[in-house]
């Protein structure tokens, strides 16, 4: 039986062409989707936020509302209510007012993690600082240690909890960077809301990836860490402060 070299060549070339066409797509898919659901968070990634204060409008609370809705927070503003993100108005000596969102800064060296007696406050491999609700005893030492006032203590029984965001009376909580969304390849709710509101003051991405938009912006513009004197290496950076 004679070999049809023409047909074989056609098949090989078709396969090679298909490979060339599909491979970048697969690579991009891998990059976009980060990691498989069953894989642990990796130190190869460090999630962060860049706040562009020139785009952040005083009086706009889109990020705060989105955070409350996403995480099942009541949205109350009493001193005992949980506020995972808040807008701070800054007035300088000339009377100029600016606005910025303040939340957990997801420090590389978080004081809350250092002081937690049970290890309930912990930093995930990808830099997200979280509270394990099963081992938090509610001592509030982390709240004493946080320089940003970023943590809240649940002072009352909670109702209408979101399945992805367990909360509980007597535990401490704070911004999770919407870890439940990040693990499903979605951006944090505050970032999405800011973009939807047309501000684009919040940029989310991987600080470890030099090709990411956030890394390129950080390389291009001057940014500030709040309480930089403490050298906590925050994952939230501010431009225009």
């Amino acid at each position: 039986m004679s070999v049809d070299h023409g047909r074989r060549k056609f098949l090989w070339e078709s396969a090679a062409l298909a490979g060339i066409a599909i491979a970048p797509g697969i690579t991009l898919y891998d990059l976009a989707h980060g990691r498989a659901p069953e894989a642990a968070a990796s130190t190869a990634v460090r999630w962060g936020l860049l706040v562009d204060m020139n785009q952040c409008e005083s009086g706009c609370n889109a990020c705060v509302t989105a955070c409350d809705t996403e995480n099942g927070l009541g949205g109350g503003k009493r001193a005992t209510d949980s506020q995972w993100i808040r807008k701070i108005e800054l007035k300088d000596m000339r009377g100029r007012v600016r606005s910025l969102p303040m939340m957990c800064q997801h420090c590389a060296h978080p004081p809350c993690v250092d002081v937690c007696p049970t290890g309930a406050s912990f930093k995930r491999a990808d830099g997200i600082v979280l509270v394990d609700r099963h081992t938090c005893i509610g001592c509030r030492y982390c709240m004493m240690a946080c320089p940003y006032g970023a943590r809240s203590f649940v002072h009352e029984p909670v109702t209408n909890q979101k399945p992805d965001v367990p909360r509980g009376k007597g535990c401490v909580e704070s911004c999770t960077l919407c870890v439940h969304r990040i693990d499903h390849d979605r951006i944090p709710a505050c970032v999405e809301a800011c973009t939807t509101a047309g501000r684009k003051a919040l940029l989310f991405g991987d600080l470890n990836d030099p090709r990411s938009e956030i890394s390129q912006r950080l390389a291009a513009v001057a940014t500030t860490q709040v309480r930089a004197d403490l050298r906590l290496d925050t994952a939230v950076r501010y431009h225009g402060l």
């Binding site: 503003k77 009493r78 001193a79 005992t80 209510d81 949980s82 506020q83 808040r86 807008k87 701070i88 108005e89 800054l90 007035k91 300088d92 000596m93 303040m102 004081p111 993690v113 250092d114 002081v115 937690c116 007696p117 049970t118 290890g119 309930a120 099963h134 081992t135 938090c136 005893i137 509610g138 001592c139 509030r140 030492y141 709240m143 004493m144 240690a145 946080c146 320089p147 940003y148 006032g149 943590r151 809240s152 203590f153 649940v154 002072h155 009352e156 029984p157 009376k169 007597g170 535990c171 401490v172 709040v226 309480r227 403490l230 402060l241």
Partner: protein, 395 residues
């Protein structure tokens, strides 16, 4: 005239047990109420996260280590006058420690998870170190007490006393480090807080011992010999001066740093209740007044024995209120040079008003300490017998 103490009447003993139990039960009811409703029923909030329970708990724990000094002066520093007081001193140490830890534990957001605190340790946490220090302290003092009470073990008592003395120094250093290691707030994060806490424990522990001893003697119709009274009151004066010295240095160094001046102005001058408590509560009533009483001899007079140590205790509560709550009431400085406002109280002095449940919980801790000391002193007959003299007017 009687040369030996008369036992306290059973009626009076039980009356004090019932009174102590009532205070403890009120504290437990308050803790239950707080657990049922959450900390919303306290004055604490997301800005002032530690309140009255912590003032009581830290006072009791600091005084617990200090009260053992009476035993240490006898066993470690070989002062004969203090030796008969060693057992009562060790009992008071256990009592105050138990009261302080109970308050601390019952104030937790999740007190039922105390088992988690005992099984999960983060060794970078000063709190985690303290869990070992507190439990170790209790264990060492129990052993020490055993060597003091069991004649066959007496040979070991100097060693146990030395170990207890060393442990208590480390324990108080650990308590001071809870605040010394906090970088976030202007009020804390200073190494001098460790020797300050040591000095505080010396003064407050001795004050609590003098209060307890004075009451114990009165109930037995006797009084402490005037020479010993004068000697211990003079020692109290020395410790009160030591606390004043470290408080002064702490504030002076802060005032020298320009960045800390606004905080010092707040806590010492225009911060409302905090400067008032600092100057009138701690400096005048809690330090200067007892020093005058002691130096003028009034404190060692029969009717004045309680005044000076009680004033020192009142000053201790004032100082701790200013230190713990005033330190949190002053806003975090996130953006120096800017006026800041937010829905979370940024840039504003934080308000705090203690509520009844948390004050009741604090007194519950004092009640626990009182009950342990009262029943323990009665059951084991801890009254020093070698130096008793009858109270004036006793037949």
């Amino acid at each position: 005239m009687r040369a030996s103490p008369t036992p306290s009447s059973p009626r009076r003993f039980w009356a004090f047990v019932v009174a102590g139990l009532a205070v403890v039960l009120a504290g437990l009811a308050a803790a239950h109420f707080m657990e049922e409703h959450g900390h919303i029923v306290t004055g604490m909030n997301n800005q002032v996260v530690w309140g009255m329970p912590h003032v009581f708990a830290i006072f009791l724990i600091v005084a617990a280590s200090g009260v053992l000094n009476v035993a240490s002066i006898g066993s470690v520093f070989k002062q004969v006058a203090y030796k008969p007081r060693a057992r009562f001193s060790a009992l008071l140490c256990l009592a105050l420690l138990a009261g302080g830890l109970a308050v601390l534990m019952l104030d937790l957001g999740r007190p039922e998870r105390v088992i988690v605190a005992m099984t999960h340790y983060n060794f970078t946490s000063v709190f985690a170190w303290n869990m070992f220090l507190y439990s170790g302290m209790a264990a060492i003092v129990v052993v020490y007490l055993w060597t003091l009470m069991e004649r066959r073990m007496g040979v070991w008592s100097p060693h146990a006393g030395t170990a207890a003395f060393a442990w208590r120094i480390i324990l108080t250093s650990g308590t001071g480090s809870i605040f010394a290691f906090l970088v976030a707030r202007q009020a804390y994060g200073a190494a001098i807080l460790v020797p300050l806490f040591l000095a505080m424990s010396f003064a407050w522990g001795l004050a609590m011992f003098l209060v307890a001893e004075s009451l114990l003697y009165r109930w037995h119709g006797i009084e402490v010999p005037v020479a010993i009274r004068r000697r211990m009151q003079n020692l109290l004066a020395l410790f009160v001066i030591a606390v004043l010295f470290f408080v002064l240095i702490h504030h002076l160094t802060n005032i020298y740093f320009a960045k800390a001046i606004p905080f010092e102005r707040f806590i010492l001058m225009d911060g409302g209740v905090y400067p008032q408590l600092f100057w009138w509560g701690y400096v005048v009533a809690g330090s200067v007044a007892p020093l005058i009483l002691i130096w003028r001899g009034a404190a060692s007079a029969t009717r004045g024995t309680l005044a000076a140590p009680l004033l020192v205790v009142a000053g201790a509560f004032s100082l701790l209120y200013v230190f713990i709550i005033g330190g949190q009431a002053y806003p975090l400085e996130l953006f120096p040079g800017f006026e800041t406002t937010s829905s979370f109280g940024d840039g504003q002095v934080r308000s705090y008003a203690p509520s009844l449940p948390e004050v009741a919980l604090g007194f519950g801790g004092l009640g626990i300490a009182f009950l342990i000391a009262h029943i323990g002193a009665h059951a084991f007959d801890f009254l020093p017998r070698d130096d008793v003299s009858p109270a004036p007017g006793a037949d």
